[in-house]
Amino acid sequence: MKTLKAILVAVMATFALTSCTYNTLVEQEEGVTRAWADVEAQYQRRADLIPNLVNTVKGYAAHESETLEAVVNARTKATQITVDPENLTPEKLQEFQAAQGEVSQALGRLIAITENYPDLKANEQFSELQAQLEGTENRIAESRRLYNEAVQTYNTSVRKFPNNIWAMIFSFDKKTPFAAEAGAAKAPEVQF
């Protein structure tokens, strides 16, 4: 009878512990998914801004078609890559980041050439577009920071004892954070 009681208590304790750990892991995984959705939304916001920006610049600097085309092409390529949060492998993330990094670089070059066109710089619409672009780059940086924070919290949970046992049973895998890249995903310098 005593043994039975002890076993019962042990089983109940295990269940209590498991459900608690399990729920925490689910919540934190959801946090990562949410943060990732925000990252994608902010990159999409930048992509939406590009046609307008390109058209405005075209009006003043039509013969810079090479630079303009580079931006458009990089944008097209980047918007084709979407990453399912369920499938956030390091390779996928790398691919995503590389494509977006190309957009950043192309945009950086575009902004750099606008320095040569005082009329364009004085254009109110361009100034506001530039402000929107800068704000979007800021938002991207912030959403990436929050994503990395969520990933770190989740990964720490998954690796801690005894959570790691339950994580193994329910297959909660480690997630990949953004790596700080050398220049590729760096926000273009927007000078006023």
Binding site: S127, E128, Q130, Q132, S143
Partner: protein
């Protein structure tokens, strides 16, 4: 000797320069002590008149639309990047109400010649980046180039108010009035409690004096009394004679009165009331609601 002097001067210069450099951690936020003060003007770059007007408008904006603002004008910030400074400030204090994320930070660093209007996540629709930029270009820049910080800030806030007023989806903070009334109610309760304690002490003192040890009834009345003074100790001694109206038992009561602080019980009651009053007063300070910033707004240099 000259070398020492140069060294000393450079040290002093460094200290003076350091003193005027703010970080998000050491920037004074007067709002926390007094909820009517939205402007942080530690270097005195804005005139008192401008600060008063700004506080009034920003207070109105919080009351009617729940937009919680911190406006700071400083000489210099660490790093010189106003955007990073504002983000760190927003993260540290959670400016803006949590439900609608309606925080707003306006920073001007005159020494760095840089400024930022940072909008909370919930304000990005009301004040899009392009609008913030337009406000900066048209309302602030001309005055900033003249070094007229007052006009730049007054114009910017006036323009922002127009946009915020046009957005009905932003609701005034209900807790703004509630906690005001709450503080008032708290204050009244504390005052009543303090007064109650004083009156109870006085009443208890009287009742104790009227207790007749012979017939155990509260029927003693004072029939005569005189006082003696001891100037050296600063006390006055009362010698009172009480007689019971029931059994005619008489007793003498001798009690000392401190000439410096009056009746002991009343003094204690007063002190209690006073400390309660202090507690009530403190709650007039503001608190930030935990709003978050996603990086919206616009920055610039002049």
């Amino acid at each position: 000797m000259r070398r020492t002097l140069t060294f000393l001067i450079s040290v002093i210069a460094t200290v003076v320069l350091m003193a005027a450099t703010y970080t998000p951690d050491n920037l004074p936020i007067p709002y926390l002590q007094d909820r009517t003060q939205y402007v942080s003007n530690p270097d005195g770059l804005l005139s008192q008149t401008a600060v008063d007007s700004l506080n009034l408008w920003l207070g109105e904006m919080e009351k009617t639309h729940g937009v919680q603002t911190v406006l700071a004008v400083v000489e210099r910030i660490e790093g010189g990047e106003t955007y990073d400074f504002c983000m760190a400030l927003g993260r540290k204090y959670g400016i803006g109400r949590k439900e609608q994320n309606s925080g707003l930070i306006i920073l001007l660093s005159t020494g760095d010649r840089a400024y930022t209007i940072l909008t909370g996540r919930g304000l990005e629709g009301t004040l899009p980046d392009a609008i913030c930029k337009r406000i900066e270009n048209y309302q602030m820049l001309p005055a900033l180039r003249e070094g007229d910080w007052d006009t730049a800030m007054l114009n910017a806030v006036r323009a922002i108010t127009t946009y915020v007023d046009g957005d009905d989806s932003l609701v005034g903070s209900s807790d703004f009035d509630d906690s005001d009334t709450g503080a008032l109610i708290g204050f009244i309760i504390c005052m009543a409690l303090g007064l109650g304690i004083i009156f109870f002490a006085l009443w208890y003192d009287e009742r104790r004096k009227s207790y007749c040890p012979s017939c155990k009834q509260y029927k003693m009345k004072k029939i005569s009394g005189y006082t003696t003074r001891n100037k050296r100790l600063g006390i006055r001694t009362h010698h009172d004679t009480y007689r019971c109206s029931h059994c005619y038992f008489t007793k003498e009561l001798h009690w000392d009165e401190n000439l410096n602080s009056g009746n002991g019980a009343a003094a204690a009651g007063g002190a209690l009331g006073g400390s309660f009053f202090g507690g009530g007063g403190r709650s007039f300070g503001g608190s930030f609601g935990g709003g978050s910033f996603g990086g919206g707004g616009a920055s610039g240099r002049f």
